[in-house]
Amino acid sequence: MDAFLLQVLNGLDKGGAYALIALGLTLVFGTLGVVNFAHGALFMLGAFCAVTLQSLLTLERVTLDPEKLTAWGTPMEIRTPYIVEWFGDFGMTLIDWSVPLAILLAVPIMLLLGVVMERGLIRHFYKRLHADQILVTFGLAIVVQEIVKAQFGANPIPQPAPALFAGSADIGLWLGFAENAVVYPWWRIIYLLFAGVVITSVFAFLQFTTFGMVVRAGMADRETVGLLGIDIDRRFTIVFGMAAVVAGLAGVMYTPVLSPDYHMGMDFLVLSFVVVVVGGMGSLGGAVAAGFLLGILQSFASMNEVKSLLPGIDQVVIYLIAVVVLLVRPRGLFGRKGVMES
């Protein structure tokens, strides 16, 4: 029972992460109709916003210690972060909280990147073939990746969560299980809540604001909305920027779970596409539902009991679900008719 509960919890957490990671892609791919292979790169750039903030906060004053030498004969360096010099303990706290603080950095940066990307590149590709969209966004993703690699190297860079959220919560105790029966890391619980908040906000924004209404109308029939004298292009730019911000936020908050490296975006690209398509093109709710479905089933498929029955099932479960869902429901869980079918 506790093992079951634990996998449900873990599935929810994974699902939340999948949904959040795929949410930005749903906006761009599912609604604007752009096959955005650079989505993973946006996710990665978000994560590197955290890295950048951390390295800014830990800029160090380097003094040389004339007494001690390194193993290769140069004087030993003494490094103290400026911020600690200036603010003392408060500086330490800032460094400790660099991941959550990076959200403040990521929002404007990702918005800017998204808008520039849409204005400079993507908007010329709305009417082009999907194949062209794939090639150009894939090329962009590689370029972005290589630039990050040139700057930060290829190795993962650790981004610890604030000390307050280190370790895990013994959820089992609250529910009357034995000690250590259901243990889950604090940071992952935070991530799940964060995913919930972001997803809800995006929903609310598209559902309850006039802006969102126009955008949704524009998705359905761009030309008519354009004829009404509404500048739909500008709104699409904002949607794209929003998608970039969402992808970036997913990246920032994921860094304590997964030490970021330049390649992390590609690793999530396929998954994001699967989530969006299984959810159904053009359906935000579908993407969220698919995220949770895939997360929970993946968790269960990884249980030792299941693996011993079906070896390797944990490796293919996501794709298996995708195949089954698409064969049973031609347009995914909540897909609209006629979107991206030709």
């Binding site: 093992a3 190795n155 993962p156 243990v183």
Partner: protein
Amino acid sequence: MSKIDNSKRNFLKTSAILGVGVSAPLIFTNAHAAYRNEPKGSTVTFGFNVPQTGAYADEGADELRAYKLAVEHINGEGDGGMLNTFSSKALKGNGINGKKVVFVTGDTQTKSDAARASAKRMIEKDGAIMITGGSSSGVAIAVQGLCQEAGVIFMAGLTHSNDTTGKDKRANGFRHFFNTEMTGAALAPVLKNNYGTDRVAYHLTADYTWGYSQEGSIRKYTEAMGWKTAQAVNTPVGAGDFSQYITPVLNSGADVLVLNHYGKDMVNSLTQAVQFGLRDKQVNGKDFTIVVPLYSRLMAAGAGENVKGIFGSTNWHWSLQDAGSQAFVKSFGKAYGFPPSQAAHTTYCQALLYADACQRAGTFKPSEVGKSLAGFKFDGLGNGPTEYRADDHQCFKDVLVVKGKENPSSKFDVLEVVEVTPRAQVEYEASMLGGNLGPYNNG
């Protein structure tokens, strides 16, 4: 990325060969050689085949740095590094057999296909006499097989699977790096001293050949000293999020988690296991603990604070105090401003060992070079007295057991050496791992 030290300029100039536009098809040039790619001019070409893209790109970059240093030293430039401490004095700092060493580089992408393609280019187009490098066992075994077929010597880079000099060994292939068998033999006694004999282990194993090899070795030695194995679970390579594999650990009755992961997988699984609070828990009345059998200092840095106090093994570490290690750290640190990794060390040694063997053999012919390497005993390369065993072309030397350092003095100071396990303790019969060297191939 490509900062060029001014002092190295001359060296770089001499190392530049076969650029675009000057390469003649080798169909015409290589017809009457006594063996594949016999060097005819005043130079001899090494092929450095390292990962330049993908997860191991930084490790590959470090290997390349070490190779460049080795070439410098063989050609008599720089401070000579470990040539000064090497027990064999055959190399005089004027190249090999009177020929200057030049090199070509390629990208393995840590994929067997790409690595083989890259090695083939070096052999077929650039006339490389020897291929070396790599950062994974799959690639090492694939390239070793290729070099055997092509008739050149392969000096393996970082490869830790038993198979490289076991099941898949080849006469033309040589490995300086240690393997999972040695890791098991060296690590087990240290684990016993620190954690006792009454422990239950839970293995998370990367789902590919090296992972199986690692898990097998650790289980073999820990079970021999009384540990039990609660469960061994295979995890997909590059899973990223390991949470679904970590969640059952606490309830399994295990009190040790063994992470048979390397590189990015290791960084992620370790970070996440620590996040799950495993190390704060008590199971069976003992402190729960985590073991990472194979450490890479470069990669361990990616796990940050989480490595502190965690045991593992490594082929070499820059904090060693013997004359060879110090000489190497000194010349590497001077050239690049930071200490070398174990990948850099093993590749540097391999380049030197190959050069020395050619010099002693008086030729570059693979069969002769192979014979002079096989059974070769040496010292002064940082691992104490070492032997290239003739039976399987595996180096036998002391193994380092290390632990994540509690109070690092710099960002390079991640690991501390806990014990140097003497060579005698990690030796095994060559026949134990199977395989067949076969004959040397001269192409």
